[in-house]
Symmetry: C2
């Protein structure tokens, strides 16, 4: 079984390590536009050999682990070149656009759209680790459009990785994920920006910032190359969600201006219920 991985950062590299662990006798091929990352992935043993346009047809599985704009661009030409029994796997953070782009492709049933809900704020091959996906949700979109034998193979692999398989409509996926992932990233980036603009004296930040601050701005370390294309592809949903977030902050601000701390307290109390939701996340 030959597995090709395009994009050898945290996400692709961790899939490589998970394949090494759970797919018996697999050979791992990989490529990365960043040649230093490609060399590093070889040196770290994430992959055995480099992948290239001339070897796509020899692969049994190809995983697109690159920013969502690049994945959208490459998916069609790669699917064209793949052999008739191979599977193309996409693992990006937006699902509607790639599903609709491949909708009419003659090899549509060799494609599986997924979104593993896993990641860290680090990037590059050295950030990859074999258990990144263990215990995490793996969302499949339009799984019924994938050839049963190919789907079964993929699902079995994800189960061996101890992922929790969920199915979701691509449009719904993009709406929900705007709330529970994309908005968090924007909130975190802008929080980091606000503090850095004002707090020119970095030492004061060092001295006074605690674990709460670290927690809320952790995502501001994320890679812009990965996130700008996600924001672009999920623009409509994100704009709606971001508008609601700003409206809530404006309301909080106006309650503070009115000195209505009773109402503020009440809103915080209601939001405390998030405890039960967070208890379900690992």
């Amino acid at each position: 079984m030959k597995i090709g991985i395009i994009g050898l950062g945290l996400i692709g590299g961790s899939f490589a390590l998970a394949a090494r662990k759970h797919v018996a006798g697999c050979e791992l091929f990989g490529e990365d536009q960043n040649r230093d990352h490609q060399k590093e992935a070889l040196a770290l043993g994430l992959i055995d050999m480099t992948l290239g346009a001339s070897t796509y047809a020899a692969m049994d599985v190809i995983i697109l682990a690159i920013p969502v704009d690049a994945a959208l661009e490459l998916a069609l030409p790669i699917l064209d070149q793949m052999n008739d029994n191979a599977l193309l796997l996409d693992i990006g953070s937006t699902k509607f656009l790639i599903c609709s782009t491949l909708e009419q492709h003659p090899k549509r049933n060799q494609f599986l759209a997924t979104h593993p809900i896993a990641g860290t704020e680090f990037s590059g091959p050295s950030a990859a680790f074999a258990t990144l996906y263990k215990g995490k949700a793996q969302i499949l979109c339009e799984a019924h459009k994938t050839r049963p034998d190919l789907l079964e193979w993929a699902v079995q692999w994800f189960k061996n990785m101890e992922m929790e398989i969920k199915e979701m409509d691509p449009k719904e996926h993009d709406q929900h994920i705007a709330y529970v992932s994309h908005l968090s990233h924007i909130s975190s980036f802008m929080l980091g920006k606000t503090v850095m603009e004002k707090e020119k004296d970095e030492q004061a930040i060092f001295d006074m910032a605690g674990s709460g601050f670290a927690s809320t701005v952790r995502l501001a370390k994320s890679s812009p190359a990965m996130w700008a294309p996600i924001f672009k592809q999920n623009q409509e949903n994100i704009l709606e969600v971001l508008g609601e977030y700003i409206a809530n902050l404006e309301e909080f601000k106006s309650l503070m201006e009115q000195q209505n701390f009773e109402a503020i307290s009440q809103k915080m109390q209601q939001t405390n219920a998030i405890k039960t939701i967070l208890a379900g996340i690992n």
Copy 2:
């Protein structure tokens, strides 16, 4: 040495445990408005005996570990009752108002205003642990106004707790802390609120929310009883900071509407520099 602690939650309870560990032969007295918490603190061994108005004069040290509005109210009458060699320690998250309130008190030199930069999103006596403050910053305000012998005793205790002592003007403290702590809490609370309002289907949140979401909304679990008074006392600084945060979010939204993902990318890139700041926080 008799140490009295008013407020036996996470913050006060952890000071009790740290006293037990680092102040040889101390006797620990404590009280909490919440009688269940007071009983729990006794049962957990955080304190040895209950504290009350009739015993304030017998204490060598009294620590105010209650919400900042209650601390402000109690500080004056308690200081009135304390004996002439005792130390009153305040550990709240706002410093300007309490320092100016006690400014003219005849026993001002028996008061020390501090802010230990430590906490978790949990509350109550059971959340307390002896090493909460280990390695964390302890900010002293107007330390020169505290009697040298009392100051020396307190600083030695904080050093034994392995805290890092910093000094800061109370006004400056409140300005900085609005950026690196108070804003994070508001951002987190409103993020949680936005998601909970929209995502009525909790199961979808469970399925799709990952560690990034958990990290950004962690502080939304914080206690409103503690935080509403902080927002009130630091209103002016917080309103300024919150206004800047909203303006940054508005700018991000407007760049998205203009499809200017180049500019968005650039802003994220600049904010990535927060890595170096976060590296200094434990």
